[in-house]
């Protein structure tokens, strides 16, 4: 039972990170129909931002702030430099553009810093664990769950209480009509990228906190997982992205914990099979996007 609780905490914390990343992908996809595979590089930029600040012996909180701010800046820059020129192009063209952006940033870090991981050492209190009755809980896991909850609450408020947030939801339904209301397309899209950058930045801080190092390819795997989560949840659906993230996190963590040792090498194969089974039963995902999008 203790192990189960412990693993549930782990599942929630990993799922939360996937959920944040998946939400970032979904926010952008719902508006510009771009599956941004350079989303992982937003994480990488955050990681190196943190690393740089810590290298200068500056405080940890400052490094977190710098990490998240640089995530927002790089996400908005990607849109301004690369994706804006491609606006209205078909999904494939946008997808390939995002691969190009991703490659360029990876190579810049490989050549500019190092292809090998660099250490990002966070203070002990972040990596410590506390005993809650018989259950041992990692600080990082608990913090990560709290941070994810806070981020989701703030995002929800943004999307339901601010004019730009409501416009973002409207744009995911019918972009042209949003423009007819006099609302600037560039502003809505830039905000979507800023939001997705902030979410990826927060996810990256949590990711780095549990791993203690940063490398040029660090974003690739989590963003692939996040992409799977958005598909499981229903591509373009924000609620679906969150749900998909938690489902994927739970599947991975429980399999890791409870599979017999002989089956462990097949963990990813089994977890992806479960995902495929979900998609066979619900081809549009668990919470499909509701849209009256016109052709």
């Amino acid at each position: 039972m203790d192990i189960f609780i412990q693993q549930t905490i782990n599942a929630l914390s990993l799922g939360g990170i996937y959920a944040l990343l998946a939400l970032g992908l979904a926010v952008v996809f719902s508006i510009v129909r771009l599956i941004n595979f350079a989303h992982g590089e937003v994480m990488t930029v955050t990681g190196y931002g943190m690393w740089f600040v810590l290298l200068l012996n500056l405080p940890v909180l400052l490094s977190i702030a710098v990490g998240i701010v640089s995530a927002i800046v790089i996400a908005v820059m990607m849109e301004r430099v690369a994706f804006r020129q491609m606006r209205g192009a078909d999904v494939t063209t946008l997808l390939i553009t995002s691969f190009a952006v991703s490659q360029i940033i990876q190579v810049l870090f490989q050549n500019g810093i190092s292809a090998r991981p660099v250490a990002v050492v966070l203070p002990d209190w972040l990596t410590a664990s506390v005993m809650l009755g018989p259950v041992r809980l990692g600080m990082a896991s608990i913090l990560s769950i709290l941070v994810v909850c806070a981020a989701l609450i703030v995002l929800r408020a943004l999307l339901t209480r601010t004019v730009t947030g409501i416009a973002m939801r409207a744009a995911s339904e019918d972009f042209a009509v949003v423009q007819l209301m006099g609302i600037s397309a560039n502003r809505v899209i830039a905000t979507a990228f800023a939001v997705s950058g902030a979410l990826a930045g927060i996810a990256a801080v949590l990711w780095v906190a549990t791993r203690g190092s940063v490398d040029p390819l660090m974003g690739a795997i989590p963003v692939l997982k996040a992409f799977i989560a958005t598909v499981v949840g229903g591509l373009g659906s924000l609620g679906g992205a969150v749900l998909g993230g938690f489902v994927l996190g739970a599947v991975e963590v429980y399999l890791q914990a409870f599979l017999p040792e002989a089956a462990l090498p097949y963990r990813d194969a089994i977890s992806l099979s479960i995902i495929v089974a979900i998609l066979v039963l619900k081809p549009d995902g668990l919470l499909p996007e509701q849209t009256s999008r016109r052709s």
Binding site: A170, Q179, L180, M181, G182, I183, Q290, S292
Partner: protein, 233 residues
């Protein structure tokens, strides 16, 4: 108020509007009539900047040709698109709010939304509901209210009576007359020819992307141009 000179709208190889000239005077209702596919909606889409167009469009002396739709909207041209296109996953209030998003302070927006709820009581009753749950007629009222939130000077209406029950059609046409009396200039695209000619000052008959007849509503009613346009001559 609005002057359109040799407007053309193309979708790939198809030329939906070919050299349309149109002049709308302040305070009038100007009707554009014509069969399906005559280029009525494309003309409005071209004027509002939703689709690229050739030709020259002047609004209150400002050349607006080639400007993005949001800029044209901010200058005071509102478009109620064909099929209403309300944001169905947003609440009725949120739809209204977005209509006035670029206009005035939050307080001003609230004041305007209250005015709309007074004018269209159904919107007050359904304020917190998802707009997609409204009936067709209610959605049309919401689409009109949403456009009015911006207090446009010129309102382009694309088939506002399409798919509505007969009493709703009456209500929509009554509303158009009311809006005109309040000083709004209206460019109305319609399939319902008799009712449109009844309320319009000027009318234009489109056939195959060109104006086949243009004049006062009475002239158009007296001519055979409309029949010709619908029969494809």
């Amino acid at each position: 108020m609005l002057d359109v000179a040799s407007l053309s709208v193309r979708y790939g190889a198809i030329e939906a509007v070919r050299g349309l000239d149109l002049s709308v005077a302040r305070g009038e209702i100007h009707a554009i009539l014509g069969a399906n596919g005559a280029g009525k909606s494309s003309s409005l889409a071209g004027i509002s900047g939703l689709v690229p167009s050739d030709g020259r469009i002047t609004f209150e002396g400002t050349d607006i040709s080639g400007r993005p739709p949001e800029e044209i909207a901010r200058l005071g041209i509102g478009l109620i698109p064909e099929g209403r296109r309300i944001f169905s996953s947003l609440t009725v209030s949120e739809n209204l709010l977005l209509g006035g998003a670029e206009h005035g302070s939050p307080n001003e927006r609230k004041k305007r939304a209250d005015e709309m709820r007074e004018r269209f009581p159904i919107l007050r009753e359904r304020s917190a509901q998802k707009a997609g749950l409204l009936s067709g007629g209610e959605q049309q009222m919401l689409a009109i209210a949403r456009a009015l939130m911006a207090r446009p000077k010129l309102l382009l209406m694309d088939e506002p009576s399409l798919g509505l029950a007969p009493q709703m059609v009456e209500a929509v046409f009554d509303l158009i007359v009311e809006l005109k009396e309040e000083g709004l200039t209206i460019l109305l695209v319609e399939q319902n020819v008799p009712m449109s000619l009844d309320i319009a000052d000027q009318a234009l008959v489109l056939a195959q992307g060109r104006a086949s007849f243009q004049g006062t509503a009475a002239d158009v009613a007296a001519s055979t141009a409309v029949e010709g346009a619908y029969l494809g001559h």
